[in-house]
Symmetry: C2
Subunit: 333 residues, 2 copies
């Protein structure tokens, strides 16, 4: 592959001049410019961004770490981030962590060595101190749904989302409301559960621990947990699943068992992935504005990279909004 030297020689100018026409970074006479362009075309010249990056100290590539791109929520988010990055002239490296700490650390290492300009983290099994290498090395970082010292973040108002989902069911007359949550009591799952509990409390409904079942965010786990819920002596009349995938699992289980939705049981999810509009019945859910989240993550990161932000870490919270479809209805008598 030809280099800037080849072009300079062919055009009879210095490499400085070639570089300057390439980047429009200083005046070059019309005639010289022509010659350089011709030479570049003749030689099919493509600037080498490794060399450029080495001197400019930037790569114009971002990294995105998600739990699993096979999960539609993350796939849609990746899509949004990639879109926004592309507009700004950045590429994005996709990393699936599978929520494994060792895989995440391996990735961080690769990404630091590749000198990506910034990282958007949407999953984090790692602890704060494992991020030190990033902070140390001054690699801009923005997280989604995770709060760490000194790092910018876009957050969801999970307490409110959990509250509203539960409130919606209560308003429909339900009192025995189950919750299919995440694998651990902490983090994301936690705040949503708190919202759930607050709504129950406010309505004067006693909390029944049996009705809180931990899933792992997959359809399969939603199905399984719904089954356990309906094997209870007094099954719930409504289910709040902490993401749409698990809600769809619950829907699937109920259908198989011949339970009518929403006539006998209501189900509400959270995320509003593209698919939930086409589940059976269409899923009522608390919608996360995925495209907006992706855009804001990317924007925040780029602002940080380009020094457009004050030194303090920035935090923004985005709100979910309920979208009512056909999986929820008034409780049967």
């Amino acid at each position: 592959m030809s280099t800037i030297y080849d072009v300079a020689r062919a055009a009879g100018v210095s490499t400085s001049t070639v570089s300057h026409v390439l980047n429009s970074t200083r005046y070059v006479s019309e005639e010289t410019k022509q010659r350089v362009h011709r030479a570049m075309e003749d030689l099919r010249y493509r600037p080498n961004n490794l060399a450029r990056g080495l001197v400019r100290q930037e790569t114009r590539t971002l990294a995105l770490i998600v739990a699993d791109n096979g999960n539609p929520f993350f796939a849609e988010l990746a899509r949004a981030i990639e879109d926004y990055g592309f507009e700004a002239g950045y590429n994005v490296i996709l990393c699936n962590s599978d929520r494994s700490t060792s895989k995440e650390l391996a990735y961080l290492d690769m990404l630091i060595s590749k000198r990506v300009d910034g990282i958007v983290y949407t999953t984090m099994s790692t602890q704060q101190d494992q991020l030190l290498p990033l902070v140390d090395n001054n690699i801009p970082l923005v997280t989604f749904e995770r709060e760490y010292e000194q790092v910018d973040a876009i957050l969801l108002d999970n307490v409110k989302s959990g509250f509203e989902a539960t409130r919606h069911l209560i308003d429909l007359g339900h009192r025995r409301i189950a919750c299919i949550c995440g694998p651990d009591a902490k983090t994301r799952s936690h705040a949503r559960i708190r919202g759930y509990e607050q709504a129950l409390l406010q309505a004067g409904i006693d909390l029944d621990p049996e009705l809180i079942q931990p899933g792992d965010w997959t359809i399969q786990s939603g199905l399984l947990r719904a089954q356990q819920l309906f094997d209870l002596p007094t099954p719930p009349t409504a289910i709040f699943a902490l993401n749409d995938l698990m809600a769809i699992g619950a829907l699937t289980f109920l259908r198989e068992r011949g339970v009518a939705i929403p006539e006998e049981v209501s189900v509400i999810g959270l995320d509003n992935i593209a698919f939930s509009e086409f589940s059976c019945p269409p899923l009522t859910t608390i919608a996360t504005p995925i495209a907006e989240v992706g855009q804001r993550l990317c924007q925040l990161l780029l602002d940080r990279i380009n020094g457009r932000l004050p030194p303090e870490s920035q935090r923004f919270t985005v709100q979910g909004t309920i979208v009512t479809r056909r999986s929820t209805a008034r409780r049967p008598n």
Copy 2:
């Protein structure tokens, strides 16, 4: 961020020695090695892969161009490719083309300049001659479902898949079988339609052009096309959609209109995305072994990159297999 010079100075050795302990590329005395490692830790040294790549002429990063990562088929494929690449020590840059030629070309340019080690192409609005820059610049390329001169490819046996899907419906007694295909008569869509036609021909069923409706691979288009099909004077009793998303759209339409599936109408898809197991009813489909496809694409590309392949371009065809679920049944009398 500290450099190899800093480490060398701190350890009292030359940069050659540091480099060699870093890469285990020549003998270094135990004691020196220790000193170097200590210095690296103290300085939190991270090798700069831009510099390394510049001399080694490799980046250990791959690129994947898909139409849209929001489409579960591509998301699952991206996942598989990323997995396999990670194992081999490669990162992957994700590019969404939206089937736009200009976007694809913009990406190709960025990717060449970034000197990615190879590209997997799963969509291609571009013509053969637009790929010349890649071939010229000796950038290894592997395509999925597209055949170009001099480029390695993994292909699906689309004629056979189309044939088997249709054959399955015929075996169930259907004779009025619609086909919701892709937007253009060429490429992927084409071969599948050919299989469809062959199966009809072989069964002595006349082809009715009205029954072939072009969609655009989305749920929405499947829904819309099914509607048009059922507004026909004599609607079909079975639908073959060329991908699962459109099949699910058809399912949705039929359900809304109160048509019983599969009692009144059968629907078969193609892909077997994770979701089709949970559609309503669960979708009968011709399964593409997505994980295998991803693995083989990646493997082929890495083999090419590392010179493990003969100069001639390689082609491999993978077969779809029918998975029978509940959306197809014997034709009603």
